[in-house]
Structures are given as structure tokens and as C-alpha cells.
């Protein structure tokens, strides 16, 4: 602990904005109504009395400098990719070049309305069409929709297309099962269930981290609507039997959707469409360098093979040789999954990024991401208390790896949550553990994308090593962490106590009887 101890997170103890409010204070003024208009139509609201708001909404009252200071301070107490080492796994926390922002924020991009006449939005339509074509080329799929607003939304879209396909074959009622695996992203099962499917989840075998082919064979039947899996898995293990699964599912009449949300190891290396998948999706906020925005906006285009293109949501973006247009004339479409056409700012950012990188750059992206990760694996595997499951069988992973701190926990009582709280004391963002249930004990899932430097990986490993050593020598300092974060240990009881939880300030004030508060 010599190099990093100087770090301390910004700690403003910033009040809730309502605590800063002072009666009568104003920031901006609204534009107001010209007097001629008031002369013409009067100032009466002409809303029936029962529908007229009696009391102005209780919003905070501040000046503009106060608002800016408040939210600037809140931003300073937020740890982004730009802030420091931030290699939270499954999420591909890569650097997002600033040119993407500059382009997406220009008035020509930001200040256009979705219902403007098509001839006035040809630029954006062209970019949407071109991105769709590029995603086809990258995935080996035949068509794309840019409409879904996040990975789980994309999986819902795919599940609805699966249903529409089986309905069109008269098998909709019979095929009511979706098969997934425990190390696929949980939205594969979660969104399929929202679409109305019964979900069967397969578990990996002891040796490889992949399900046994016999288990899939047992699950596949005439009731199978689709296999919906992530490959590579969230563990970083690539399931090389994916083509066999696809064949097996096709043989029983089902479809296969492969979650490519995180395709950061596959660009130019593997095209899931060529492997035989019928559907897939990409997360533009992972692989294609749109920022994560503090948890959104995301964007997750869905890709399909030609035989499913007729089910894509409307409208699709098309080109007739002279102009770009929105095509609503698709009678077998599943309809709509989100309002308008997709998360356009992220679409612009992904388009800009692909153009910046070119094909050569995309391949290099995956190569460096995989190199970074295997370098991290080598270094982190040397740390006492850390193991990599299934490494005896295959020590290589693709873009991320799921380690286990089970040994550390056994020997010191310190688990991954404690470790995560401690590493933020050194200016390192906490790392992904695992979605529930924890199949691997005390899972730790870092992912160093291509923009991560070797120095950052070394610092990360050195910090994990130091914290693991602390676990053996002084576990209390880890257990009581964080010590240098923006705040001290939180009271977690409101998490499960309806009498204490408060999702709004007004609920907090009323439940906790702070009568002196606003």
C-alpha cells in the first residue's frame, strides 16, 4: 500500500436538492406569452375546476448557479469510465471517443423530430440504414431492426419474433418453451418469460463450464420454441458446441437466438449468422462504444436471418435507390416494441465509431480486448485466494473472465462483496460479481476492453493482490470498507422494510417524521 493510498473519493456531503430550496428563489424564467396573445384569448385557463391544479408542484426553488453546483458535485461523486480504472465485467466498459459525442449533440442530430417529413431527415435515415447494413455484415445476419432500447428489450423483441414465426406455422400453442443456460445473461430467460414462454435453464458440467450436450438433447422437444443463449458466456468461456446446439434445436423445429450484446471478442473473428443462429442482438452501449449514461440510454439492435425478416418490428429503415424511408407496410411484423425508431443518439455514436475504426480497427479491437483479458487472467491467477474455474480444462478466455474468491472466503472470511468495497478505496470501480444465483462461489468478473492500458491492468491486479493480502493479515480493514469513498457504511434496512423505504423525498419526509423538513 504505497502508491495508491493518497486516493480519496470526492465527499461533498451534498444535501438532497430539496434541502437547498429557498422559498421564492428562481433560476430560469420561461418564455412567457406575448401580450397580443393574451389580449386575443384572455388569461383564463378554461380548464374545468376539478381538473385545474390547485397548488403548484412542490419542486425545489434554486438559482441556476446553485443547480449547476449541485449536479456538478453529484457528477464528481460518480465513477465513470473516464474517471479511472473501471473494468466492470459483462458490460464492456470501453472508452467512448469524444468525437461520438460531438457529432451526436449537434443540432442537425439532436433537434429533429421523429414525425418530421422524411425528406427533411434523410441524413439520419441514411445513417440508420447504413448502420443496419454494417451490423448485418458484422454478424452474418440478413436484416436488422434498430428499435430495441436495451439488451433485455432486444431479447423480448426476439422472443416475440420467435412466437410470430411459430404462429405462422400453426405451432404457436405447442411451442411454448425457451431453453437457456445459467451463464447466459439472465435477460435471455427473463425477457422470454415476459413474452409468455416457459423457461428451461441448463447448468454447466464440472469440467468445461458449458452444459452437457445430453442435457440439451433431453430438454429439446416439439415444445421447444427457441434456444436463447449468450456466447461467449458471462464467464468468458466460449461454448464451442454452439453449432451443435443450433443443429439440434433446428432438428426439433425450434429457432436459435444468440445474445451478442457483448461481442467485443468476436469482431471479424466469428459471425453468429454464419454459425447458424436465426436471431441475435448487439448492445451498442457495449461493443460499439456508445456510453453507458449512468445506466442508460442503451440501444440494442436485433438481427435476423432472411426467413424471419418479415417479423421485424415496424417501421424498418429502407432505401429505394434514391431516398431513405420508413417502411410500415410489413403485414406480418410483430408490431412495435418501443416508441418511434430506436435510440438515435447511440445509433449515431456507434455509426461514428465503426467508421472511425474500419474493418481493420474492429478486428484489432477484439484482438486487444482478448489479449488484455488473458494477460489479466495470467496475473490475477497468481494472487493468493483467487482461482479461475475450469482453468485445468482451458485457461484461455475471450473478453472477460469469472474468477472465484471462494478460497479467500474460506480462509479469511472475506468475500467478493467485501473486496469490491475495499478496491474503491484505491480509486478502482467495483467489479462485476455474477448475476444470481452464484454458481461459482464468490465470483469476480473483470473485463478489460481494448482501451484499457497494460498499466491499468497491472494496477488493478496489484490492488486485488494487496486487498487479498489484507484479508489474510487484517481482515477487519476489508470488512469495514470502504474507508475513502464519498460516504460511510450505509444502513441497508430500508431495502426490505416498506415502513422505512422511500423512493421520493416526500415519502422520506412523511415516513421519518422530519417535520422540520420541506
Amino acid at each position: 500500500m504505497t502508491t495508491a493510498t493518497e486516493y480519496h473519493a470526492v465527499s461533498w456531503n451534498e444535501p438532497i436538492i430539496y434541502e437547498l430550496s429557498r422559498k421564492g428563489r428562481r433560476a430560469s424564467i420561461t418564455l412567457g406569452v406575448e401580450s397580443e396573445i393574451q389580449t386575443e384569448v384572455g388569461t383564463e385557463l378554461q380548464i374545468p375546476v376539478q381538473m385545474r391544479r390547485k397548488k403548484a408542484p412542490n419542486l425545489p426553488e434554486l438559482s441556476e448557479p446553485q443547480v449547476i453546483r449541485h449536479y456538478l458535485r453529484l457528477s464528481q461523486q460518480t465513477f465513470g469510465v473516464d474517471s479511472g480504472i473501471h473494468i466492470h465485467g459483462t458490460c464492456t466498459m470501453k472508452y467512448n471517443p469524444k468525437i461520438n459525442e460531438a457529432i451526436a449533440r449537434s443540432p442537425k442530430a439532436a433537434d429533429i423530430h421523429p414525425l418530421q417529413s422524411e425528406e427533411t431527415v434523410q441524413g439520419t435515415l441514411e445513417i440508420m440504414f447504413q448502420l443496419k447494413r454494417w451490423l448485418c455484415q458484422i454478424s452474418g445476419m440478413d436484416d436488422f431492426s434498430l428499435q430495441p432500447r436495451g439488451g433485455a428489450h432486444a431479447v423480448l423483441t426476439n422472443a416475440l419474433m420467435v412466437r410470430a414465426y411459430h404462429n405462422s406455422n400453426g405451432e404457436g400453442d405447442q411451442r411454448n418453451e425457451v431453453i437457456t443456460t445459467i451463464h447466459s445473461h439472465p435477460c435471455n430467460g427473463g425477457s422470454a418469460a415476459v413474452a409468455g414462454f416457459k423457461v428451461i435453464t441448463l447448468y454447466p458440467d464440472q469440467d468445461t463450464g458449458c452444459p452437457d450436450i445430453e442435457a440439451l438433447k433431453a430438454a429439446a422437444s416439439k415444445n421447444t420454441a427457441a434456444l436463447m443463449v449468450t456466447d461467449p458466456y458471462d464467464t468468458g468461456v466460449f461454448d464451442a458446441k454452439i453449432d451443435e446446439y443450433i443443429k439440434m434445436i433446428h432438428e426439433v423445429g425450434g429457432l436459435v437466438a444468440v445474445d451478442q450484446a457483448n461481442a467485443n471478442s468476436l469482431l471479424g473473428k466469428l459471425r453468429i449468422g454464419d454459425v447458424g443462429a436465426d436471431l441475435c442482438h448487439f448492445n451498442l452501449h457495449k461493443t460499439f462504444s456508445a456510453p453507458h449514461g449512468s445506466t442508460g440510454p442503451g440501444s440494442a439492435p436485433v438481427g435476423v436471418k432472411a426467413h424471419l425478416a418479415r417479423f421485424l418490428p415496424v417501421p424498418t429503415v429502407e432505401f429505394d435507390g434514391s431516398k431513405y424511408y420508413l417502411d410500415y407496410n410489413r403485414p406480418e411484423s410483430i408490431g412495435k416494441v418501443g416508441q418511434f425508431f430506436g435510440v438515435v443518439p447511440n445509433i449515431l455514436k456507434a455509426y461514428t465509431w465503426i467508421m472511425s475504426m474500419g474493418e481493420e480497427g474492429l478486428r484489432e479491437t477484439s484482438e486487444i480486448a482478448v489479449l488484455n483479458n488473458n494477460y489479466l487472467i495470467k496475473k490475477l491467477s497468481e494472487v493468493k485466494g483467487v482461482t479461475l474455474p475450469w482453468a485445468e480444462n482451458q485457461p484461455l478466455r475471450l473478453q472477460e473472465a469469472r474468477f472465484s474468491l471462494g478460497k479467500l472466503k474460506e480462509e479469511t472470511g472475506i468475500g467478493v462483496n467485501d473486496l469490491n468495497h475495499r478496491i474503491i478505496d484505491f480509486g478502482i470501480q467495483d467489479s462485476e460479481t455474477s448475476h444470481e444465483p452464484w454458481f461459482i462461489p464468490e465470483p469476480l468478473t473483470p473485463e478489460p476492453p481494448e482501451s484499457t492500458s497494460m498499466e491499468d491492468i497491472d494496477t488493478f491486479v496489484r490492488t486485488i493482490d494487496a486487498v487479498c493480502k489484507e484479508a489474510y493479515s487484517n481482515p477487519e480493514i476489508v470488512r469495514s470498507a470502504p474507508h475513502r469513498a464519498s460516504i460511510a457504511k450505509m444502513d441497508l434496512t430500508p431495502s426490505s422494510d416498506p415502513s422505512k423505504w422511500a423512493m421520493t423525498w416526500r415519502a422520506y419526509v412523511s415516513k421519518h417524521h422530519h417535520s422540520e423538513m420541506v
Binding site: A110, Q339, E367, Y375, Q394
Partner: protein, 444 residues
């Protein structure tokens, strides 16, 4: 790094992917990396084919609204930390949690409800999830909605909740445009999980009898779910005051650029009761305290409800939604404050009325179609002019004006009708130009 691993070619790392699965060809993308200068030149050249608000005046809303956006909103949502953060807990990401809690708090005040979820994709997906919540709370499987509902929004709600509920339409009154309460009473039953009503409704009218609609729902043990455009709540009674159990809406008007409809942020407010909280799979964030007196923290409520833990047993999926826009909306609402917000809504309602008054003076034009109070959206019918909305809009476009949305496909029973929107950004002269343009369009 490679030699550290004992390899000399990065390709050796990809041997976990069998040869038979490897892609060996060319993707056919632009081959090489391009300089920032070149990329920007090209992309801006493409975008220059768009006409933005700087080059034309637009009178279309219908789910995405043009408002004046304070520069402070753009300043905060461009903050690098907010822009590039993701999923840390409050120890590392205190600020984003607090900003989102403040968004939730302010939405709660606008709609007059105590519980508000983490921000969602958009209004219709939020409404679809509100329906899932209502079905889960009541154990019933049918939802009633007025036929004035936007068909696009209805389709999205069905995508989200169609697997567990059926949607049953209720008539709207052809004179007022408001829900037909008699017909609602005729259709409601013990199977009804919820009555879904938007206020103002898609066609513009303010639903004056909303409280009565809520009573009809509650009398049969159904929930009352209300959809809102939030700025209207500066002058309209908040749904929490007239009996709503769940409120949904679109946050884009709150300081967020239209982005071709690509920057939406849905919200759901609901009764602060455990039976509601466990009936959603979305993130719920609560404020809490820390070991240090006077310090705030934030944590998730019952995280085991979400797909991340419950997987296919969760009521709905959740995921990366729209936090950056929620943070932006929080900035917007704190800049306006109670009086600014009320002034804004008052400005809009007066300007929209001015537009309707002036347009109604044009011979053969009927606006609005419905005899009801309106907020910012209103219908214009061209039937008596023998002109289609397409013709009128083409004429307007040549004069740099984007007319209203044509409703001919969505509401054929309304004939040649456009849905127009006027907000605070339209000056008197903008509105006068629209009126003059339409007058010329229908008389040529």
C-alpha cells in the same frame, strides 16, 4: 503482453473458437481506420441533409415534444462522469443515485404519488409494465382503454404485457373526445385488472371526468392507471389527486432534445405499498442514511425481485434504461421550480388556444374537432376544404413549416385530420405563419 503469455501471435488466443466456426472473409466495411477529421467531415456532411429546428418551424408533437432546453441541462448531461458511469453501487456512484432519487422525487411531486421507479425506456413500455403490475396486484387479466389511445402506444403496451392480459377497447365520446363513461361501465367487469386512461388524451382533450373513471374502476375492484405528459401537470390536477393507483408518462419534454424520437424516458409512479413494489421487476431505489450523521446513501429495494436474481420468475425484465435523461430532467425541473413550471404550462395552454382560435377563423376548417379543454395538442380537420392533410403539409413544408401528424391511418373515423402541437417555443409570429400557410393551402 503476448510474450508474457508465452505466445507470439494474438491469433493463438482465439484457438478457443474452433476453426470451423471462425470467420475468415472480409466484412466489407470501410477497410481502414479513419482520422477524426475525416470521420467528422463525412458524418456531418450526411447529417447536413437533415433540417433541424433552426431551419424550419415544426408544429408536430404526438409523443415527442419540442420545448426550450436550458443550456444547463446539456451541460450536466454531458458531464463525463454521468455519461460514462454504469452500475456501481452508492459507495462509488453516490452522485448518480442521488440525481436519480431527485428525479424520482420531482416526478412524485408532479403526479402526486409517493413511490416512483428508476427511469424506464419510454412512456408506452412504462405503460405496458404498469399493466403487468396491475395484473399481478389484482390477479385479473383484462385491461380497458379508450379508443382514443395512440395505436402505436397500444401496440407497444401489448408487446410488453400481451402474454398475461387482453386489451378491451372502450368508446370515446365523438363530441368531447373524452372516454365514454357509460360505455366504460358497460365493459367493466370482475375480470378487469385496470382501466388505462391518458390525460390529456392522444387526440388532445383533457379528460375532465377522470376522477369518475377512477371511481368506476375502483368500484369493480380494478386499478386506475393514468398516463401523462408531465408539463401539462403544471395546470392540470395531478393523477394522484383524482385516484390513480399507478401513473406513467414520458419525461422527454423535461429538458431533453428530440433526437428523432431517440431520447425518451418513461416513468412509473405508484402507490407506496409493498403489494405494488413486489409486483414489478424494475429497479427501485430508496434513500437511506449512513454511519455518519447527516450523510445520505441510496440502495435498491428488494433486489431479489429483479431479473438479475429472479430471472424468468421476475414480473418483468429490466436493464439498461435511461438514467442520463432522468438526470437531465432533474436539472430541468430544479431550474424551473414550482412557479416556473406553472408559468410554462400556462404559457403553452394560452399559445395553443391562440393557435386554435386563429385557425378556426379559416373557412371550412374545424379545430379542434372535440368540444373539450385542450392543453398543447389539438386536432385540425380539413374535410370541408377537400384537401388532404398530406397536401396541406406539403404546401406548408415548402414554406419551411412542418404541419401536424396525419391521423388518417390511425383514426379513419376522423377523416382528414391532423394532430398539431403548440408549445412555449412558438412565437405569435410562428403561429400566425402557420395559420396563414394553412389558409393559403386550403384556398389554392
Amino acid at each position: 503482453m503476448l510474450s508474457e503469455l508465452g505466445f507470439n501471435d494474438v491469433e493463438q488466443l482465439f484457438k478457443v473458437i474452433p476453426e470451423r466456426l471462425r470467420f475468415k472473409g472480409s466484412l466489407g466495411l470501410p477497410a481502414r481506420p479513419m482520422s477524426e477529421f475525416e470521420v467528422r467531415r463525412r458524418v456531418e456532411a450526411t447529417l447536413s441533409k437533415n433540417k433541424s429546428r433552426l431551419e424550419m418551424r415544426s408544429f408536430v408533437g404526438a409523443g415527442c415534444w419540442q420545448h426550450w432546453i436550458p443550456a444547463a441541462c446539456d451541460e450536466i448531461n454531458a458531464r463525463s462522469e454521468f455519461l460514462t458511469a454504469y452500475a456501481g453501487d452508492a459507495y462509488s456512484d453516490l452522485g448518480r443515485y442521488q440525481a436519480i432519487f431527485e428525479f424520482q422525487s420531482m416526478i412524485g411531486e408532479l403526479v402526486d404519488m409517493d413511490a416512483v421507479m428508476f427511469p424506464l425506456y419510454d412512456w408506452p413500455t412504462a405503460s405496458g409494465d404498469a399493466i403487468r403490475m396491475a395484473v399481478t396486484v389484482t390477479g385479473r387479466k383484462e385491461v380497458l382503454y379508450p379508443k382514443s389511445l395512440s395505436p402505436e402506444r397500444l401496440a407497444i403496451m401489448k408487446s410488453l404485457s400481451g402474454s398475461i392480459t387482453s386489451f378491451r377497447p372502450v368508446e370515446y365520446d365523438r363530441v368531447t373526445g373524452q372516454i365514454d363513461i357509460k360505455n366504460l361501465k358497460h365493459n367493466i367487469s370482475d375480470r378487469t385488472a385496470a382501466v388505462y386512461l391518458e390525460n390529456p388524451n392522444y387526440l388532445g382533450p383533457i379528460e375532465s371526468e377522470a376522477e369518475e373513471v377512477g371511481k368506476v374502476a375502483h368500484d369493480r375492484g380494478a386499478l386506475f392507471v393514468v398516463g401523462t405528459e408531465p408539463i401539462s401537470l403544471g395546470v392540470i390536477t395531478p393523477p394522484g389527486e383524482y385516484g390513480a393507483d399507478i401513473v406513467t408518462g414520458e419525461g422527454q419534454p423535461l429538458g431533453i432534445h428530440p433526437f428523432y424520437g431517440g431520447a425518451l424516458v418513461g416513468f412509473i409512479a405508484f402507490r407506496d405499498e409493498e403489494r405494488f413494489a413486489i409486483a414489478t421487476g424494475h429497479r427501485l431505489v430508496t434513500i437511506t442514511e449512513t454511519e455518519c450523521e447527516g450523510q445520505w446513501g441510496f440502495t435498491q429495494i428488494l433486489p431479489e425481485r429483479t431479473m438479475y436474481a429472479a430471472r424468468d420468475k421476475s414480473v418483468t425484465f429490466t436493464g439498461t434504461a435511461t438514467a442520463l435523461w432522468a438526470i437531465t430532467a432533474a436539472v430541468y425541473l430544479s431550474l424551473l421550480g414550482p412557479e416556473g413550471f406553472r408559468e410554462l404550462a400556462t404559457t403553452i395552454i394560452q399559445k395553443a388556444r391562440y393557435a386554435m382560435t386563429k385557425l378556426a377563423e379559416i373557412p371550412n376548417i374545424k379545430t379542434p374537432i372535440f368540444q373539450s379543454p385542450h392543453f398543447e395538442e389539438f386536432t385540425i380537420n380539413f374535410d370541408a376544404t377537400k384537401k388532404t392533410t398530406g397536401k396541406v403539409n406539403k404546401f406548408l413544408l415548402e414554406r419551411g413549416i412542418q404541419g401536424g401528424k396525419s391521423l388518417e391511418n390511425e383514426f379513419p373515423e376522423l377523416g382528414n385530420t391532423a394532430l398539431c402541437c403548440v408549445t412555449e417555443v412558438h412565437t405569435k409570429s410562428d403561429i400566425d405563419d402557420l395559420v396563414q400557410g394553412i389558409e393559403e393551402a386550403v384556398s389554392t
